[in-house]
Amino acid sequence: MSTWPSESQKQRQPTATSEARLHELRSQAERKGRVEHVGVHPEGAPFPRASVETGYYGIPLLKQPPWTWEIPLYFAVGGAAGAAAVIAALADWIADDDKLAQDARWIAVGGAALSSVLLISDLGRPKRFLGMLRVFKLQSPMSVGAWTLTAFGSAAGAATFAKLLRSRYDWLPIRIVGEISQGMAALLGLPLHNYTGVLIGASAVPVWNKNVKTLPVHFGMSGLQAGVSVLELMGNENAALNWLGILASAFESWEGFNIESDSNRVLTPLKRGRSGFLTRAGGVLSGPTPLLLRLAAVFSKNSDSLRKLAACCGIAGSVLTRYAWMSAGRASTKDWRLPLEVEDKRPQEKPLPARMVEAVREPRRA
């Protein structure tokens, strides 16, 4: 129990003005037997009522996404790892760029490992991750994702390990296993790099499911951007990376434009408040900025540093974007009007005293 009286209680001491007004009202009551004018229109009026206009005291219906910092970071890491696996295979098989392929493999396998660590950190115990493999549910993006990540991790790991072995023993079985697992990793890298868009898009959170049609592409492109950018920062100068970066940042620019030009109120968390700031910052860093830098790099002599700059922006943008969506998701579930389909008349409304609101919305943990 808090001390008594608490600070907030002390703050509510009546002032000389309010006492004077009270005195006036009292004497009026005594003189005339009634109070003719209402003293003041009380703050917070109308008194809390549950109604169509106010919902159930404005208490949000939906629960906030419970995830902490690990999950959005996982979205970014997993996306980059998935994209990297695809790049690794193509760089190996088509472009014959060994360094790129090798770096990309390391990103894939490292990303997969880091992803597991992040997920386990969110779940609390390593054993809990095993639970993900208890069933396989096509209808659950989380289940699909968990199996994909597991398979992807194994394939990427096998591919990397095989390559390591091959540098010493270039035996055929190792080569076959290496090539197959590289192919598997690339194949699984495709869903891994963008399934997280499905994961949050196909949910009850309004701002997420409103964007369900673009979220997977958006998250995929964001992952691609991150993957490409990391590879570039590792010293890969393959032009294909720049072109892939251009593709990703072009899409991100388009996505950002799309969101900004859509006035649907469900999208408000993407534009206002903390989540809006994050979204915009993430958008600028992963959309127009790297796009311009990369385009410039195509024509510039100083392409290397331009690309590295773009890569830095891209990574930051990719990570920020995931945090932005998580934050927007939280803000979206706080808006009780959305699931109840009640019009927003916020400007006319005065908020309830903060204490009361918090009491209900954020019950103290037992």
Binding site: M1, Q9, P14, G39, P42
Partner: protein
């Protein structure tokens, strides 16, 4: 319960909760039944769903109002105006049940010439002694009724309690004169008509703040649901009783139900709703100062009943059940003192303590405050939160030498010496409090066997499941072993003063490792047995005045007729009234006075509303309930009131067998200390003056106990305290909170003190919902969160808007859910009959903000605050 006791004979609910389902209308007033008795309320809901009209009269719109068809908001404390108007409505619109009223009530009885009504004397009845501030009820007697010749026979002494009052003590009321035409101006019916003539719908509108159409809607609904084919019930609780005129409010309801013919009939009656598991039990087998088990009064000095002969003479009636008074008291004394009770020593009557003053709780608490008491046992109660004027309650405890508290948790009462508001304010200092405190852990109901008597007089046994934890013990264990130790001490000195202790029968066998007394043995003693061969008795009718029977509570006699048959522990209900489950006193009748459910000729008033009836073939009373009547007495039995004796002297159409005239009393000829009929008086603290009797604003017989530590607002209309204050309870908590505030699952539901005010008042004072407000009365200051709600609304009285502040009183400074003690605001006051305090209608001030800090200067601020004139 003198309100019901004097009207009908027994101080208990006349009906059962299950029977409410058969009502055609239910008036709930002075109670929020859905809120405080939710499970009992299922029967009201059942009635509602079957088409009954539910009327809730309450200043606030409560959970009960939310279930009602008609909600009538009225000004707190104006209940008698409202009920009086209902009575007047019945009388002026010819709605009374004529045959019922003529045969089963004293409507036809003539009153004495010298009786004068409040309407004649401007607010008091004849017999008022302004100096002593008490009534002499001689003039209220029936014409020709002989007065009894004991000292104080005509006076109802100021110290005498009301629990034992069943009416008629002052005379032989079996002798009277009737006017069958009910036209004589001195007959009760005509007196009643005149008395209530001023209680009109206009009056209700003006002084209850109830619009006439709303009143008429309720009146129509209730009276239309009464008659041979229909019945209506009334439920009340402490919303009626905790007034300075509580029993008279209940009397108003009783009069209404008598006129409408709703007593003793299915779906009718008056249900007193009790707030504790065994609150009925604790008056039946009392832990009260003024009565012995079975409502046998204690010996009193100022009514002259301190000698055996006078005691018997005063309490024995010629006719009716009380004719056998001697066998009840002798059997009790036999149970108390065993073989030491002998005819020669008046069965040990002289060993009983005599009541010489106001020994009620509030009375002795003031003695305690004055430093005149040594010790106190508090068992399962939390008075420093639950009793009025909490500050005085707590300070008084600091003046004791020793205090024993038994409870399941550390209550505020046990901890007053180190963390009460007085200690925090610097008014009390642990280092200067001499009180020795013993806090004893008590067992819960799951950890002991025993019986509760519920709100409908039903004895129900609860079986022990597990042992209590640690050193927790049942109260039976505590009392038994304390008694054992004390008897050892007494045995060392066989002086006269130790005689009662030495004579006391106290040899209960024990069982188990903790030496828990065997509950069966105590139950057998309560049930009663023959003294010589120890055979359990089956009915109170077997009790004898020659000492051959012992019985601890005559009204419970027969609940344990065999050593292995405890009817309170029966668990096989056979019918809707629940026969076969538990045992209802008296004699397992679930609806009492049920002879009245049949017409004088013994046939049910209607097929639809039959309950018990006379079976002409078998020459016996029979029916759905156990008849509360002599089974073999035919309806045409003439009786012999003038010369006969006992129940046999009552005629076959007299359902109210505890009254010596066999009828229900519209007019109470003696037994009430504040008048034979209810009259409206304002609360002891009121906003307005009494519109009916300007010279007698408040109940003249009520005691204010006004003193510097128990001050009152100026009466009426103290400008410092412009609002009406009313306290109440919530579903989520239990009284003073000892059994609910410490439980997480209950504490979280209503976690803090709050008060309810109307948006209008909030508007006038600029109060936001949820912010701190401070409520002040001359006794105390309480800060609470404001819950602004239109469920509380101001009433307009005489053009003036009167605001009500509602405050639930469950909280204290211990447990999980905490808050100021709302009862600090209340005054210690005593209604004259039962010495209850007024909690439902007082005056207060309300201001914005929290303004009662602890520490230095707090005490001075407290006093300044209270004295402050706005």
């Amino acid at each position: 319960m003198p309100g019901l006791g004097t009207s009908f004979g027994r101080g208990g609910a006349t009906t059962a909760q299950t029977d409410l389902a058969r009502a055609d209308a239910i008036l709930i007033m002075g109670s929020s039944m859905a809120e405080n008795h939710p499970v009992g309320f299922q029967w009201v809901m059942e009635a509602r769903e079957r088409g009954a009209t539910l009327i809730h009269v309450d200043p606030r719109f409560t959970r009960t109002s939310a279930m009602a068809d008609i909600w009538v908001p009225l000004r707190p404390g104006s209940d008698i105006i409202f009920l009086g108007a209902l009575i007047n409505y019945v009388l002026t619109n010819n709605r009374w049940f004529d045959e019922y009223v003529r045969h089963y009530t004293n409507a036809t009885f003539l009153l004495r010439q010298d009786f004068k009504d409040t309407e004649d004397l401007g607010g008091v009845f004849s017999g008022w002694d302004e100096e002593k501030r008490q009534y002499d009820p001689t003039s209220w007697l029936y014409e020709e009724s002989p007065e009894k010749e004991t000292r104080g026979a005509t006076g109802t002494a100021p110290t005498a309690g009301g629990h034992g009052q069943r009416g008629g003590e002052a005379s032989k009321s079996n002798i009277f004169i009737k006017d069958e035409s009910m036209q004589d101006p001195r007959c009760v019916f005509q007196v009643l008509k005149r008395h209530f003539a001023r209680y009109t719908p206009e009056m209700v509108e003006e002084y209850c703040g109830v619009a006439q159409d709303v009143f008429l809607k309720a009146a129509e609904a209730f009276t239309n649901a009464s008659g041979p084919e229909k019945t209506a019930a009334i439920c009340y609780a402490v919303g009626w009783t905790q007034h300075s005129k509580g029993p008279q409010i209940i009397r108003s309801a009783a009069i209404l139900q008598m006129l409408l013919g709703n007593i003793g009939r299915p779906g009718g009656g008056i249900l007193a709703l009790r707030g504790h598991a065994s609150i009925q039990g604790s008056t039946d087998i009392p832990t009260l100062y003024d009565i012995l088990p079975g409502y046998l009064p204690m010996p009193f000095f100022d009514v002259g009943t301190y000698t055996w002969d006078k005691y018997l003479e005063k309490h024995t009636a010629q006719t009716g059940i009380w004719a056998s008074y001697e066998s009840y008291i002798v059997s009790l004394l036999r149970a108390y003192y065993g073989d030491n009770a002998k005819k020669e020593n008046d069965w040990g009557f002289d060993w009983l303590p005599r009541v010489t003053g106001d020994h009620s709780q509030l009375g002795y608490w003031l003695q305690m405050e004055d430093g005149k008491m040594d010790g106190l046992f508090v068992i399962g109660q939390n008075p420093v939160v639950g009793a009025p004027n909490g500050r005085l309650q707590r300070i008084a405890l600091s003046k004791l030498k020793w205090l024993v508290v038994r409870d399941m948790v550390e209550t505020e009462t046990a901890s007053f010496w180190y963390d009460s508001p007085e200690v925090r304010r610097g008014e009390l200092d642990p280092k200067s409090i001499a009180t020795e405190v013993f806090l004893m852990p008590a067992a819960g109901q799951a950890e002991k066997s025993g019986m509760f008597t519920n709100t409908q007089r039903l004895l129900q046994f609860h079986n022990k499941a597990v042992d209590p934890p640690g050193d927790a013990r049942s109260d039976t264990w505590f009392i038994y072993h304390l008694g054992r130790l004390l008897k050892d001490k007494a045995a060392r000195n066989r002086s006269a003063r130790n005689e009662p202790m030495n004579a006391l029968q106290w040899n209960y066998p024990t069982e188990g490792p903790t030496a828990e007394p065997k509950i069966d043995e105590i139950d057998w003693e309560i049930n009663g047995f023959t003294w010589t061969d120890r055979k359990l008795i089956k009915s109170y009718k077997e009790l004898k005045s020659d000492g051959s029977t012992a019985c601890g509570c005559w009204i419970y006699a027969g609940f344990h007729p065999e050593p292995t048959l405890n009817k309170a522990n029966q668990r096989e209900p056979k019918d809707y009234l629940g026969h076969g489950w538990g045992f209802a006193w008296p004699n397992d009748s679930r609806v009492i006075y049920n002879r009245a459910s049949a017409a004088p000729d013994g046939k049910p008033w209607s097929e639809k509303k039959k309950l018990v009836w006379w079976d002409e073939q078998k020459k016996t009373w029979t029916g759905l309930d156990r008849p509360d009547f002599d089974l073999r007495k035919s309806p045409d039995h003439p009786g012999d009131l003038r010369n006969g004796k006992g129940v046999d002297a009552l005629p076959g159409d007299a359902p109210f067998i505890l009254h010596s005239d066999g009828v229900a009393w519209l007019f109470v000829n003696s037994g009430l200390k504040d008048g034979p009929l209810p009259a409206h008086y304002e609360p002891l603290e009121s906003i307005i003056s009494n519109p009916l009797y300007p010279d007698h604003g408040t109940n003249p017989a009520a005691q204010t106990k006004q003193r510097p530590d128990n001050p009152y607002a100026k009466q009426p209309n103290d400008p410092r305290f412009p609002y009406v204050l009313s306290t109440y309870r919530l579903t989520e908590h239990h009284t003073a909170g000892g059994m609910s505030r410490t439980l997480p699952h209950l504490a979280e539901l209503q976690p803090e003190l709050f008060c309810e005010i109307s948006p209008e008042l909030a508007g006038e004072l600029g109060i936001i919902n949820g912010e701190w407000v401070t409520i002040t009365t001359p006794r105390g200051i309480v800060s609470a969160h404001a819950l602004v709600t239109s469920r509380v609304r101001p009433v307009t009285i005489g053009g003036r808007k009167i605001h009500t502040v509602g405050i639930p009183y469950h909280w204290g400074w211990k447990g999980m859910a905490q808050g100021d003690v709302a009862n600090d605001l209340l005054a210690i006051s005593e209604e004259p009959n039962v010495r209850i305090m007024e909690t439902k209608a007082l005056v207060c001030n309300l201001t914005r903000g929290h303004r009662f800090p602890d520490g230095a200067g707090a005490l001075e601020q407290f006093q300044r605050e209270i004295q402050r004139v706005a």
